[in-house]
Amino acid sequence: MSEERVGFFTDTSVCIGCKACEVACKEWNAIPEDGLELTGMSYDNTRALGASTWRHVAFVEQPRPDGRTRLPLADGQQAAEEPAPDGGEVRWLMSSDVCKHCTHAACLDVCPTGSLFRTEFGTVVVQQDICNGCGYCVPACPYGVIEQRPADGRAFKCTLCYDRLGTGLEPACAKACPTESIQFGPLEELRERAALRVDELHRAGVTDARLYGHDPDNGVGGDGAFFLLLDEPEVYGLPPDPVVTTRDLPAMWRHAGAAAVSLLGGIALTFVLAGRERR
């Protein structure tokens, strides 16, 4: 890598669910529409990351008998309480999800054509003229990010605005984010900033605040896009402990080799056992 590794730190504690990131991403990358269905999933009508959704804002809307996560306001005051109809409280969590640009990226590892590659910025990008639509990257991704477009079969996902990075611009989603929930920059710097922010929230009594994907020792070797979450990852539809599947590949090849040898040996054995035919 000739350049410094860059990435996203998405601080969901300041996300207001405006979807400016979704729109900016669509506009800049000229991504086709996803259809206009209403899902009934709170304000989320895009459902998940996919071939035509490279930023996805999740809306977690839950009545909570045990109370909701209270975030400090700028002046240190608590927000006013909003009682829910059933006597409990409604909790809102909003989070803008994106491709994690894993250090050990399963999609890149399993791609049979070399269409997926790591850029000089340490990000993972699909070369659309080489992708042959085999779809192997899709189930390989432990985060369920990359997806094939049904019409042509090729796989698409966030490029971290590779074209913008090359000219010194920040990605469209980070540029459009009005609350700096999406922060772009050198990964090391973002990790320091994230650690400060999570400490600040813990001091303010937000004990549920935690970082996700920031650890270089996690199952994917650390994410190029990591998050500050206010509850368990699975609440937001994220896997709790994802692992790059190619970590087990040496074992898999060993077992496949042993299986192949046992097939050869097993059939040879049957010919020995069978001997000559009885006439």
Partner: protein, 314 residues
Amino acid sequence: MTSAGSSTPRTRGRRGDRPMVPKAEFESYYGRPVIKAPSWAATDIAGYFFLGGLAGAGSVFAAGAHLTGRPRTATALKVSSLAAVSLSAAALVHDLGRPGRFANMLRVLKPTSPMSVGSWLLSAYGPAAGVAAASAVTGKAPRIGALGTGAAALVGPAVASYTGVLAADTAVPAWHGVHRELPYLFVASATAAAAGMALVTGPTGENRPARCAAGLAALADTAVAAAAERRLGMVAETWREGRPGTLLRTARVLTVSGAVGAAVLGRHRGAAIASGLALLAGSACTRFGVFAAGIASAEDPKYTVVPQRETKRT
């Protein structure tokens, strides 16, 4: 609503020594899947797994028959292996959308990509199987034919086993969880299919190895499938319930009855054909069952979240 799913562990009577399955309490985002299921069509990819196994194990069987003076069985299996590998290549191209895309598969050789390795294996195996079959059918160039037979028999086992890695090297819980067992299950299933093909197409006077292989394959298949289900823990539900469960149970019944039929009655032509067909169908059911279990495990966030919460805790 964000669903808090919970399911009580199934307590079927079989194998009472299975460790207690943890109670599957978990939260999810509106019940949506965490990972994406492969968009592969079952007929293309599960069919490809079955045909690749039939071809690969069939080539080993053909070489054995060739060497031990069972010429009609040898020829029949050389032809069936060529047919199976041609059909499997067609299934692969159909899944890619257009033939030109298969050429992209050979741009690079990547050991980290089982699909890349498999494409190169097929490129080596296909022509060898073709030479073996062509020589056997025409009777021409017997030395080159023997060379093709030998080459196909050496590469064939890899063609049959790599598909286990292809499925396992994904985040799909019902596949990746059994990455150790899957190659063995696939070669056992491939052996059952090849033995079935030999029983159907070979004369009864040459079928003792096939009857023997059917028994070994059925034993291995049953034992490995049981080990795989033990390894999967709560994810084994996807191997037991719904359509995949039906397919896998049908596969066991067909494979075992085919093997028993072959062993006991295989000297009778009609019984040999019936047993062979049962073995072929059993092998196909195993591949389609494992494929369907994978899809089911990818579509339910429970199978991604609950096992990962366990690994996170330890």
